[in-house]
């Protein structure tokens, strides 16, 4: 049993990706740059809502468990590792590019011309790492979907934001399916029964 089998995480991540895609889409359509504020402030608004949804939907159905620090440390180590590696690579690349180094400029051109494939591989790798760490197999699927769509985007010229909107919608639908399944599988225990159960 996992705390993320309720699909809430999928819904919130899906909405975030969708908003991000819509933000870019509206920016290209209206040239109104403040659309970018939406995905930027999204976590601050949605994280309290997500916690509240967990308390109201998940916990009353499957109970509450507080894990030790070991699991959190593993996840944090991956986060920090990725951040340090990304930052280090970016600094080396930035330094090289500012000094007009040939390799850095070649690399920059390579990134620009293959950005769709590179982003696809990066997202698929990060999703797989989370899938492995959190034991959520569906994240492999999301990573694979991103990889396939972004590879397609490399060969077929479709604006980047459409891919984000598609991925966001797929993840939201998957989240709602999981949520429905979760609610059906774990109905809310009756109040009286809870009292009887807990008469340890």
């Amino acid at each position: 049993m996992s705390y993320h089998q309720d699909g809430l995480l999928d819904i919130f991540v899906g909405v975030y990706i969708l908003l991000f895609g819509l933000g870019i889409l509206l920016l290209t359509m209206t040239d109104f740059s403040t659309w970018f504020v939406i995905p930027a402030i999204f976590p601050a608004i949605m994280i309290p809502i997500w916690i509240s949804a967990k308390k109201r939907i998940t916990m009353p159905r499957i109970g509450y468990v507080k894990f030790g620090v070991r699991g959190a440390n593993k996840l944090m180590a991956i986060f920090l590792g990725l951040m340090v590696a990304g930052l280090g690579a970016f600094m080396v690349f930035g330094l090289g590019a500012s000094m007009g180094e040939g390799w850095a400029l070649t690399l920059r051109d390579f990134f620009i011309s293959n950005s769709m494939i590179i982003i696809g591989i990066a997202v698929a790798t990060i999703s797989s790492l989370f899938a492995y760490t959190m034991g959520l197999k569906r994240l492999y699927g999301y990573g694979l979907l991103t990889l396939v769509l972004f590879f397609t985007g490399y060969f077929i010229v479709i604006p980047f934001e459409y891919f984000l909107v598609t991925i966001g919608l797929v993840i939201i639908i998957s989240g709602f399916v999981l949520l429905m399944r979760f609610i059906r599988r774990y109905p809310l225990p009756q109040g009286d029964k809870i009292n009887a159960q807990e008469s340890v």
Partner: protein, 103 residues
């Protein structure tokens, strides 16, 4: 026959009972869990779980904290310090028994 059958005598019978062993195993890997979570994980009836928890509490292995969260009763369960060391000792004793068997 095991070389040293007396090792079997060291096995903690409070923990050794399969249901209580499952409860102890579940609580060992987490910081705390509530009654409903354990019930789902172990697929047990409330009465059965309650009875085993009482035995573990009596042995001093499990701490049961009753509280109200948003006016609803909530039972939080966690292994005590004694419970954790008893579980480790149980594991070592059992390993010893099997190790003696294979010698």
């Amino acid at each position: 026959m095991p070389k040293n059958p007396s090792n079997l005598k060291n096995i903690d019978r409070v923990i050794h009972e399969p249901t209580r062993l499952m409860i102890m195993t579940q609580l060992y890997v987490v910081e705390s869990a509530d009654f409903l979570f354990l019930q789902h994980q172990l697929q047990m009836t409330p009465g059965n779980l309650s009875a085993h928890l009482s035995k573990l509490e009596k042995a001093g292995y499990v701490e049961i904290v009753k509280e109200f969260i948003e006016r609803k009763p909530h039972t939080a369960l966690k292994l005590t310090k004694e419970g954790r060391s008893a579980f480790k000792e149980y594991q070592q004793n059992l390993e010893q028994v099997f190790s003696d068997l294979s010698k």
